[in-house]
Symmetry: C2
């Protein structure tokens, strides 16, 4: 029996439910990013209020600080940070390749110095699984190599083969453990911008067999059409009865277009990162709340929005807070932006369930496009 069930579909877009040991996740779903055991500036209560069903934690960051041993002894990441819903942990692969210094890649794994204090560290497939187990993750990602962009076909193929060998070791590590101790374990499709490699990666991972499949190595600097092409190259080769997760994506429009291409799960730092700069997401595009026209604007960030910020405060006040560099300003915009992103998933799901997804997609993308043209 699969942990994922498709309840309705419109074209490639699906509404489904993913069963984890800490509850069911209804998809499509946007997952807030909690890199360092906190979704930036948000309490767990506020995460529930914006509708978050599942959040991310990061293996690399938590290994470096405060260390997975401390969190394990504490009873796991859920108890440590006060979040009782499902947690998905990234494997650390992406951060080892984007943040760490003096990397040396071997068949065993990756030797590197961490970005904080340069401590020499090793993470390989088994070590990454151990760390994610110690964190108490409900959805574990396999440890992958992330090739840079751009990347030759030859380099991408060699990297992909290494990732596949690591994928087998991750699978074997979990298979050696009692079934009742196992979280969901997701494979990660690589292959850079090469459709043949994306297909080979997807097929090989499916043969190994995972509880779900992520598409990685996207949003690494490539143009948007290439990103969509990578998703489209992988998707037909992934089983219909497994959840698909596009890692680190994307803008609101990309979220809708990914859902239209059969993606069920997404995560992105944009809502909280841009909030800290005073940029709010709305159905009509982004607003830079620092701009002078908002100084006396009595409307909420997004009229009609039901989030705490929009129910209680005007753009003029939020602008004042951002200009005055007050923490409450970025808090209010973070709440709104996460509510907006989580809402994209919820509205897409409702539209798939009632068969109106194509109209929803046209209308939503059309409004976002019109808003961006204006601004």
């Amino acid at each position: 029996m699969s942990c994922f069930e498709v309840q309705a579909a419109v074209g490639r877009a699906r509404a489904g439910s993913l069963k984890t040991r800490r509850g069911v996740i209804e998809t499509p779903v946007f997952m807030p990013v909690g890199t360092q055991a906190t979704v930036k500036a948000m309490t767990p209560v506020e995460l529930r209020e914006v509708g978050a069903q599942v959040i991310l934690g990061n293996t690399y960051h938590l290994h470096v600080r405060p260390g997975e041993g401390l969190i394990r002894d504490f009873g796991g990441l859920h108890r440590f940070m006060g979040w009782d819903g499902p947690i998905l942990t990234d494997s650390g692969g992406f951060q080892v390749f984007s943040l760490a210094k003096l990397r040396r890649i071997t068949e065993e794994g990756v030797h590197f110095q961490n970005h904080l204090d340069g401590t020499p560290t090793f993470i390989g497939p088994e070590r990454s699984m151990e760390i994610q187990r110690d964190l108490g993750s409900d959805i574990v990602m396999l440890f992958d190599e992330c090739p840079p962009h751009p990347c030759t076909h030859e380099d991408a193929a060699a990297s992909l083969d290494l990732t596949l060998r690591w994928a087998r070791r991750c699978r074997e590590w979990w298979d050696a453990r009692p079934a009742e101790d196992r979280p969901l374990v997701f494979g990660i499709v690589q292959g850079s911008g090469y459709p043949d490699l994306r297909q080979r990666s997807a097929e090989a991972l499916v043969e190994i067999g995972f509880d779900g499949y992520a598409i990685g190595g996207v949003s690494v600097g490539e143009p948007e059409p290439e990103m969509f092409a990578a998703i489209e190259a992988a998707e037909p080769h992934l089983p219909a009865d497994r959840a698909r997760y596009a890692m680190g994506l994307g803008t609101p429009k990309q979220v809708i277009e990914l859902i239209a291409r059969g993606v069920d799960m997404m995560d992105c730092v944009l809502p909280t990162r841009l909030a800290r700069n005073g940029t709010a997401f709305t159905g009509d595009g982004t607003l830079n709340l620092k701009n002078a026209p908002f100084a006396r604007d009595e409307r909420p960030i997004e009229p009609g929005c039901e989030c705490y910020a929009c129910r209680n405060f005007a753009r003029a006040y939020v602008r004042h807070l951002i200009k005055a560099e007050e923490i409450l300003g970025l808090r209010l915009v973070s709440i709104h932006n996460l509510h907006f992103y989580v809402g994209l998933g919820l509205r897409a799901r409702a539209a798939i369930l009632d068969g109106s997804f194509e109209a929803f997609r046209r209308e939503t993308v059309g409004r976002l496009d019109a808003g961006e043209r204006e601004s």
Copy 2:
């Protein structure tokens, strides 16, 4: 009929109630500081949850940014920042003398350049009252000159006389307005470290007649005994049926000792300022949560505390957040620290009402002293 009523007293300490147009404030009361139309990092809901009855706004800061005209047109500071309880506004005097550049003091008022962009500005007694009126303040402070510390008797006396002339102009400005439009207006006792001047200031202000009396020019760098001496020099000359407010004070122990000396209202930036550095206030003194011994400490910041932070998170987690420079860390410590400070006022009030204040004072100060000796 006075706006202030004493319900019980133990020695000089009083439990009272101060009636404002936005509700009754039960005293002794600690008032969180919301300089720029926000108590740093806190929402209005969170302020209610820590027990705040009244908060401060700042005339100088709000005049400079976003401007009192914008706030007035918005319907006042309460609506702008979403706080429906009483607001006390400082007159701007203290900031003009501590922050602004190129000051020139005349009989009329003070010409200066603001600290943000150097815009030439004038604030005098009438202008300060206008700004506080535009903000919609419920408790208005008169505009005073704040002499530096140390200060000769001659300079302190001259400054005090100017402040008294300004006090008369503030009183006249309000007397020319309809009684129903008037907030409470508080005088400010000055006189530096000279008991004779403190007495002269208090007596002259009482003769002019205000709704309450603040003691200003304290906590400006003088030693603690001198601060207490200034309070003690003023207090006997203030009417028993008016509230007394010690401006900008103090440490938890000072708060208790001020209450013991007949002070009803206090404000201080310490709880939020030190929170941003990871320092928590407890009944046993301060904790620097960055310190290594807290890395695996499963206890809440203060065992037994009922604040949101202590009900939900361990010191180990808060330490991790502070070390990782995560905003949630300073949010949790701010919540705890404000809950602690507001709680000091509430517990002192309960002890005065049931006659046990002297035992409460001994026990509370004793624990704080013992904690500081240990740390």
